[in-house]
């Protein structure tokens, strides 16, 4: 039986909802369930309120849903906040001693003395394990899997703590099984299969590592920090050096120094930090230094909303850096796409000696999905530097070639010297104010675009062939748009979607081919000005319908898109 079940674990910061979600999702993924989990860090009504949504299904799921069938309320506020979004027959799990829940039709209340059972197991800190035990019982999962997880995952804890946690989990499980045997749940069974669980931050980080990143520098800024932390954690093992810079200007220029010297380099940041990198990115353009810039968006302007999501920086990355120079901009739609895109990005930065942007957002980096596998050999690391011993002399760092790409060497390679320079310069990198030199240099850089256009893959089509209506997604709106298409197809609508990961150089011909003679084209994006919609119209000269926009810091979901979509259709 197909099923689509949403679990909300809610509480205030520090209550360990991440721990409960972590245990549950891991075991569900190992058992073959498909998951989409998203993080929502709120700060409304009396201080912090956070929740994690875990969507469980028998088929792949790509987006969050708003309504929930199971709520784990770790505090009273969680009951109040989420009560409305429960769809019956729903379950509320709460601590029977501290939280009150008004009984209602269609709501099954599971009241468990969570804190008491934790204390009985030796400490109040085992409460998350108690809650996990409750959930395992309700979802008809095997207690053995939970115990196994606690044994292996908590191996850094003392034997006493592991025992305490196992005891606590068992108590929660047993209590629930004994008292709430009659609770009906809608989570179905699936064929057992070991799936991985990955979020966007991990996938970009691992992609960069697979793409041969050697140096990474950053200044911490949500929601990009997860990528930087991940790579830093693996730096020793992979012979990478990671440096927390004094500011984003330094981070960017460090990466450029390393890049000029021949090390694959990357920076991670978010809007405000990217703004500070503006001049450095222009230097990468002028001096033709490979660098990958992972910009994870959050709402702005200025500080905006640090823990929320947005797609407001598209115009910025398309234009950042004074003067004119070519660049790549990618906006992967899922964690899976982000992994392969990041490997490509590392390769392409070096191949064309241009800045490459990976444009993600909080929704992409903080959401986890289940995948069967990732294949680091699917997109291969490839070096584009001249091989040692093969350097033609005299070596010209900015040799004016037909493709626009000059041979790339490292300082001192084959005993040559060269200068990397930010001015208008001659082929050997020295300052020039000659007008012919200036003209030729600009043309050389822009000639790269011809081959850059052919790189990577174009927009992806999904849905009914020749559909009248086309929804357009870019970046992390992919998931919600895809599910909207599935929903509308079921209602026998003539719909399809086009998803853009490669945004620049803009795939003009492919877009025109896919978009021409559609009745209605609706771009879905997380910003106010419909930045991608404008770009699409400008590049294709095709008229689009009213874009579907969201700029409240929240990701799209099917219900939101359908509502806006149908409003226009009437």
């Amino acid at each position: 039986m197909p099923f689509d079940f949403n679990i909300t674990i809610a509480g205030s910061a520090g209550q360990g909802l991440q721990t409960i979600a972590g245990i549950l999702t891991k075991v569900l993924a190992r058992n073959g369930y498909h998951l989409f989990t998203s993080q929502d860090y709120m700060s409304r009504i009396r201080g912090g309120h956070n929740f994690t949504n875990i969507r469980v299904s028998d088929k792949p799921v790509y987006a969050p849903t708003v309504s929930s069938q199971l709520l784990v309320a770790l505090d009273q506020e969680s009951v109040e906040v989420h009560y409305q979004s429960l769809t019956g027959p729903a379950i509320i799990v709460h601590d029977s001693d501290t939280i009150k829940v008004i009984k209602a039709r269609n709501i099954q209340v599971v009241a468990v003395p969570l804190a008491k059972l934790s204390n009985e197991s030796g400490s109040p800190v085992y409460i998350n394990s108690v809650a996990a035990g409750v959930l395992f019982s309700l979802l008809r999962l095997d207690l053995k899997d939970l115990v196994g997880f606690l044994e292996t995952r908590f191996e850094e804890k003392s034997p006493e703590q592991i025992k305490g946690n196992i005891n606590a989990a068992t108590k929660g499980f047993t209590y629930t099984s004994e008292n709430y045997q009659n609770i009906k749940t809608t989570i179905g069974t699936v064929r057992k299969k070991n799936r991985m669980l990955i979020n966007g931050a991990e996938s970009i980080a691992i992609g960069m590592i697979a793409g041969g990143v050697r140096f990474i520098s950053a200044y911490p800024m949500s929601p990009s920090t997860g990528i930087f932390i991940y790579i830093t954690g693996k730096a020793k093992k992979f012979g990478i050096i990671s440096e927390q810079a004094e500011d984003e200007i330094a981070a960017c220029n460090m990466a450029l120094g390393a890049g000029a010297a021949g090390a694959r380099s990357a920076v991670t940041t978010s809007g405000g930090g990217l703004s500070l990198m503006c001049e450095g990115i222009s230097l990468a353009g002028a001096a033709e230094i490979p660098v990958v810039i992972a910009n994870m968006q959050r709402p702005g302007p200025a500080t905006g909303s640090p823990t929320r999501t947005a797609q407001e920086d598209l115009d910025l990355v398309l234009n950042i850096g004074h003067g004119e120079f070519p660049r790549f901009v990618f906006a992967p739609g899922t964690a899976e796409e982000a992994f392969y895109t990041s490997i490509h990005a590392m390769n392409l930065a070096e191949k064309y000696q241009v800045p490459v942007f990976i444009l993600g957002d909080q929704h992409l980096v903080d959401s986890s999905i289940t995948l069967d596998k990732l294949n680091p050999n699917k997109v291969k690391y490839k070096s584009y530097m001249v091989k040692s011993g093969n350097l033609k002399k005299p070596y010209l760092r900015y040799k004016n070639t037909k493709s626009g790409v000059s041979p790339l060497a490292y300082y001192g390679q084959d005993k040559v010297t060269f200068i990397v320079d930010s001015h208008v310069h001659t082929e050997d990198g020295h300052i020039s104010e000659d007008m012919v030199v200036a003209e030729k240099l600009t043309e050389k850089r822009f000639r790269k675009i011809n081959d850059m256009k052919k790189e990577f893959y174009g927009p992806q089509y999904y849905g009914l062939q020749n559909a009248k209506t086309v929804l357009v997604s870019w970046g992390s709106t992919y998931g919600a748009v895809r599910e909207t298409i599935d929903y509308l197809l079921e209602k026998k609508k003539s719909v399809a979607m086009i998803h853009y990961n490669k945004i620049w150089p803009f795939p003009v011909e492919e877009s025109i081919r896919l978009l021409k003679s559609r009745k209605d084209i609706r771009v879905v994006e997380n910003n106010y000005q419909a930045q991608f919609n404008r770009l699409l119209k400008r590049e294709t000269r095709i008229d689009t319908g009213e874009p579907i926009l969201r700029y409240d810091g929240r990701p799209f979901d099917v219900r939101f898109i359908v509502k806006k979509f149908e409003k226009r259709q009437k």
Partner: protein, 284 residues
């Protein structure tokens, strides 16, 4: 004046006749030759300014980046290839003004590079505005009532931050400058050599004569390893200006935390795809 050596690069220089930058260039060339380095083993990094043009005028590798950003770029290059000898030559405005924050943190990191600041106490390239080291009272078009912001003392700052090597020189004294640059390069960690450099076109206060009348070489009785004495010495400015090694301080360099000299530089390392598989496996 210039001894021909293999770092010498005969090109037109866009500096004014008589500018102190010429002597600094010669001192750098001589120091590198004396240290028996080869041009391809050396990287000269700069920002933007008159001083920052130096990498274009020497036979070595170069990175001429952005105004104020020489130090982060030099850090990145050194980390990428620790076998390169990395020198930064830039102006006082570049290093202490636009790039002041990086100056602080490069010293803290103690990355093994040598910073030579052409300190002409003025913005040369932009035609004569006050710099962070301009003396009080100096009148310029942008400081018409004279400078009233107290000057930045780079040596005091560097001593405070426990820089590995802190020195001052006077560009005219080429042999002395050469010696200090050599010593700075030889000292592991971050070395600062602040070189007083007359700007004959725009700084009409701190002229050759002004400096010559004031500078004196520190002699053997001065112990540069004593931090409190060094701090005191670094603050000396006015009728008498000390030149020489102000402070020496041996501490672990940035790369000592990661790399031994014999190790493969970052640029030669390859990612093992099998190990990437292990990262993926951790996610199951």
């Amino acid at each position: 004046m210039t001894k021909e050596n293999h770092f010498h690069y005969s090109v037109e220089r866009a500096w004014c006749p008589g500018c102190g930058d010429y002597s600094i260039l010669s001192s750098v060339e001589n120091a590198l030759a004396n240290l028996k380095k080869k041009p391809h083993e050396v990287l000269m990094v700069s920002g933007i300014g008159q001083a920052a043009k130096l990498p274009h005028y020497i036979k070595a590798n170069g990175f001429d980046g952005l105004h104020g950003r020489a130090l982060p770029a030099a850090f990145g290059a050194k980390v990428a290839n620790h076998k390169l000898m990395v020198l930064v030559t830039s102006g006082d405005g570049d290093i202490y003004g636009e790039g002041g924050n990086h100056f602080i943190h490069a010293i803290r990191r103690n990355i093994d590079i040598t910073l030579i600041v052409h300190n002409n106490q003025i913005y040369g390239l932009t035609k004569g505005q006050a710099s962070p080291t301009s003396d009080l009272g100096m009148v310029t078009k942008t400081q018409p009532d004279g400078v009233f912001t107290i000057p930045f003392n780079p040596l005091e700052m560097a001593v405070t931050l426990d820089a590995a090597f802190v020195a001052r020189s006077f560009s005219k004294d080429m042999a002395f400058t050469t010696k200090l640059i050599e010593e700075g390069i030889r000292t592991p960690g971050f070395s600062l050599i602040d070189v007083l450099q007359p700007c004959v076109s725009f700084n009409h206060v701190n002229t050759y004569k002004w400096y010559s009348d004031r500078v004196y070489q520190l002699d053997n009785s001065y112990d540069p390893t004593d931090k409190s004495k060094a701090y005191k010495k670094s603050s000396e400015w006015g009728d008498k200006i000390p030149i020489g090694v102000i402070f020496k301080n041996s501490r672990k360099t940035y790369l000592d935390n990661f790399i031994k000299h014999k190790d493969l530089p970052l640029i030669k390392r390859k990612t093992n795809i099998k190990e990437v598989d292990s990262l993926i496996n951790e996610l199951y």
